[in-house]
Symmetry: C2
């Protein structure tokens, strides 16, 4: 596995690969790799000649009171994992190279960025869109692999690529879950034992509501209150930021079912913020 | 000369050229071509294997009260000129293909975009940065040619390329002038005979002040008032939006000379807005 720290060198490397007609599969991460990331890397491995994984904890997407400093950075373990997964290139840029002095250009996917998580994390998706635009220009991937767990992020990046004519195919992969249903997330590492057990309420609620919808047991307008009720039954849930049913393209709350429906939740267990979602198709 | 209207086809064409190791020189224009554009195209012709010129009157960079509809579009004449200049590809996309339904992604070079012209044309440079980002992703040029006449625009695009890791070399070419000194501009076509004669006050003021600075006859703090005075002597000048001496990188007004100094003017003659600038180096 080649390790590259300098954006210009990564860009030249990708250019040479493309000139040789190699396809590049790219998995951008903030490290602290888990099975969710590995599922993306494995799919990239199957579908491309070259697999590039980036590890970059992007300061631009963290709010001033968020967990940028505390974010887990188990870099030796991550490198070991990537080697096992036959990653070809690990791109691990320094923040000083990504945001040089005088940096002042930002990319914003308006309309999609201020809803759901965006309403609770101002500037977050602007930071995401900006860094992803940079990473795509550097790595020049044929295919980009993103997890459905960060559904809003994935849709924003898809829109960004379409709108700015970025020549990359966006592949959204299904959420990988722990045996009890909890969606894999680097932030799960923050949970203590009791919180970890309590966190299952999120996926349980999604599954329960999804079943009820498919079986026709609940009307669309009842969904949000039912979700809130189920989540509030878990005493360790300290705050429900949102829980409801949304249009999967506009993220507007739905009052009647559509063909595709997005159930989405963001909440805090203690001080730890967790998100999850499920797409429910009605036939 | 090949004419391409569909962004995807332009992008595929550029990709094939790059795979064959051809360099691409790109001159983005809004049409109504004049000698200023031709100087860019000729330089691109000398420095690249392939020359791509785009003609696209970008609605996103015009304000609601600006001249988008009235902007000159002498397309047959432009095509004839481009053929004479041995342009390889004319990229002339439809607005509906550049801004498809649901388009909502914008690029902003903050800090540089709200000064000088930006203060008088809110949203203008956001529109410029967004369309240039799109055009660069579509055309994938090795070299991008811009005129110094639109100095702020050129610096914003240079910053955009650096900040977003766009793999294009930005070449800023000197302003081409009419025999009497007026900077070439498509908007000069709007001027009637008297206005056209009056417009020479802009370049005369720039030259006069530049000479005075180089000869040490004027202090930095005197420059703006002297410029305003000279411009106001021309009765057809209806409004001076700005006239002064600025840092050529930050566009902040200068109170003492630096090594590089930007003299810049935006004014209206009748209802027609004109801009010009000059860089003054002090040794």
């Amino acid at each position: 596995m080649e390790r590259i720290r300098i954006p210009r060198i990564m860009q030249e490397t990708s250019k040479k690969l493309l000139y040789k007609s190699k396809s590049i599969g790219f998995v951008p991460t903030m490290g602290a790799l888990h099975e969710g990331h590995l599922s993306l890397i494995r799919r990239a491995r199957v579908e491309n000649n070259i697999v590039v994984v980036s590890i970059f904890v992007n300061p631009l997407q963290f709010g001033p009171k968020e967990d940028f400093d505390a974010y887990p950075r188990p870099i030796d373990r991550d490198i070991e994992i990537l080697q096992k997964e036959q990653t070809d290139i690990l791109f691990m840029p320094d923040a000083a190279l990504m945001y040089a002095e005088g940096f002042c250009t930002f990319v914003e996917v308006e309309g999609l960025s201020n809803k759901l998580c965006g309403a609770f994390r101002p500037g977050h998706f602007r930071g995401v869109a900006t860094v992803v635009c940079k990473l795509l220009n550097i790595v020049k991937p044929t295919n980009l692999y993103l997890g459905q767990k960060d559904y809003q992020q994935a849709m924003i990046i898809k829109r960004l690529c379409d709108d700015l004519n970025i020549d990359t195919n966006v592949v959204i992969c299904r959420t990988v879950r722990e045996p009890d249903g909890l969606a894999m997330s680097s932030r799960n590492l923050y949970l203590n034992e009791a919180e970890r057990k309590a966190a299952v309420v999120i996926s349980k609620t999604l599954t329960h509501i999804s079943d009820a919808i498919i079986k026709g047991r609940i009307s669309c307008t009842e969904v949000p209150s039912m979700m809130h009720r189920l989540l509030r039954e878990e005493p360790l849930v300290s705050e429900v930021q949102y829980a409801g049913i949304f249009d999967p393209h506009t993220f507007e709350p739905l009052t009647e079912y559509k063909r595709g429906n997005l159930l989405a939740i963001a909440l805090k267990i203690g001080t730890i913020r967790l998100i999850d979602n499920m797409l429910v198709e009605i036939k």
